[in-house]
């Protein structure tokens, strides 16, 4: 394998790892706010690394430019969505879970 291919594989693997972390986080974390953390950030990084791997793998100018735009928009829109969810939760009066609460209560 060429160094480029190693790079692509590494990006894809790390991306998959963070996507996995996001999924595990959504299951394990206790409330809507903490889950929004996992869903918004680890997920963004996972997806972004995946797209970066794809951009390197495709290697035609046009598709790479498009992939870079995709990256940019992911970075712009994902936090906005997470913010919207958390804000909706706050408007509903959902109390954030704190370490003082019962363990296991979700």
């Amino acid at each position: 394998m060429t160094p480029l291919e190693w790079g692509i594989v590494a990006l894809a693997l790390v991306g998959a790892f963070f996507a996995g972390v996001a999924s595990i986080g959504i299951v394990r974390l206790p409330d809507v706010y903490t889950r929004a953390h996992a869903a918004s950030k680890s997920d963004t990084l996972g997806a972004v690394l995946g797209i970066a791997a794809a951009a390197l793998a495709i290697q035609t100018d046009l598709a790479t430019i498009k992939a870079v735009f995709l990256l940019t928009f992911m970075f712009l829109t994902n936090p906005t969505a997470a913010h919207a969810i958390a804000r909706a939760a706050q408007d509903q009066g959902i109390e954030p879970w704190t370490a003082g609460d019962e363990e296991g209560k979700s």
Binding site: I24, T34, S40, S42, L62, F69
Partner: protein, 353 residues
């Protein structure tokens, strides 16, 4: 009357003078009119020199207007003072401006504040109404001068100008060509598409006049910001991965409130998004400059109040000097126990501004 450059400042000054003059002619007692420019940065800052310069220019112009309006025979019991206030501290919010104005009014026993309906020293953010609300706190009469305003566009749509057209046309044409296959036909269709986009978006796309000096500088500084943000994202993601995968799930979530020292829609949005992107912190709601932030771990809170992101965003939008403003912790926020979670968990309270 606080003065700042605006389309109606001339008429408002005229109105204030007319009011003061008629009051002086009616009664015997001394009437004084104070016209003050409000400086928002401290006089020791590099930026302040420009700002003070502009304020002095404005005051010079006002002096000319005074001569015009009062004519040859001003009443003897009317005295008019010009000055600059607020140069000894930072003013960010309407509340800060109100404090400065009220303190000055108190000092000079002023009974009435006349506001310019277009008074807007904060830049892009509408200022007048919150300022009026804040001023009412003081024991003082507040009045917005009833002067003619030029037809005023709504907050969203603003008059489109040539620089705006050019900026949007250029950006959309470039975008189109980047994604095209560079055939001659693409240049034609791109031009047509960019024209349509420009016609549709020019009135709403900018909140300020695009400037050839400011925008490239902001873009350049933003380009320096991106690697920093990516680094923060990478580091913080590793921390979150550790926390999430750790068998005992060592999280300590808490709501905290951050009063950010930034101003303007673009800067606030960028900071809010950056906070959300940096794992461990999630912007829940923003009103003016107060951010409600949900933080996942204690170390994420530490980073937040160390103010690295806030400083970087200030650097992007206002330049190097603004980056030197103290971090939130140095401004006395973010005590280690997580500050004010008590009143944040109640959305009624948190949303009340």
């Amino acid at each position: 009357m606080p003065v700042a450059d605006s389309v109606t400042v001339r008429n408002t000054v005229a109105y204030a003078i007319e009011q003061a003059e008629s009051a002086a002619r009616e009664g015997q007692q001394q009437v004084s009119l104070h016209l003050v420019a409000v400086a928002s940065t401290r006089a020791v800052d590099p930026d302040a020199q420009t700002e003070l310069g502009q304020a002095k220019d404005l005051l010079d112009r006002i002096e000319v207007w005074l001569d015009e309006d009062l004519g040859a025979d001003p009443p003897s019991n009317l005295d008019i003072e010009l000055g600059v206030i607020g140069a000894d501290r930072y003013l960010f919010s309407p509340g800060d401006y109100a404090d400065a104005i009220l303190a000055y009014a108190d000092e000079h026993s002023i009974e009435r504040v006349v506001l310019d309906p277009e008074f807007n020293p904060g830049g892009t953010t509408p200022m007048l109404r919150p300022l009026e609300v804040e001023l009412v706190r003081g024991d003082i009469e507040v009045e917005t001068a009833p002067v003619e305003r030029p037809a005023r566009s709504t907050a969203l749509a603003r008059a489109a100008t040539l620089p705006k057209y050019l900026a949007i046309f250029g950006a959309s044409y470039l975008f189109y060509l980047l994604l095209s296959s560079y055939k001659p036909l693409d240049f034609l269709t791109g031009a047509i598409t960019a024209t349509i986009v420009t016609a549709l978006l020019a009135p709403i796309a900018f909140s300020r006049q695009p400037s050839l000096t400011r925008i490239p500088r902001q873009v350049a500084r933003f380009a320096m910001y991106v690697p920093y943000l990516l680094k923060e994202i990478a580091i913080a993601n590793l921390e979150i991965a550790y926390v999430v995968l750790h068998p005992s799930l060592p999280i300590d979530p808490k709501m905290v409130e951050l009063e950010a020292a930034i101003w303007g829609d673009g800067a606030v949005t960028t900071l809010a998004n950056s906070i959300t992107l940096t794992p461990g912190t999630l912007t829940v709601s923003v009103s003016e400059r107060a951010f409600d932030i949900h933080s996942l771990t204690g170390s994420a809170r530490e980073d937040l109040f160390d103010g690295g992101l806030e400083r970087a965003v200030r650097f992007v939008f206002y330049g190097r000097e603004a980056a030197a403003i103290p971090s939130p912790r140095e401004r006395g926020q973010g005590d280690d126990d997580g500050t004010v979670e008590g009143d944040i968990s109640d959305p009624e309270v948190a949303d009340d501004d």
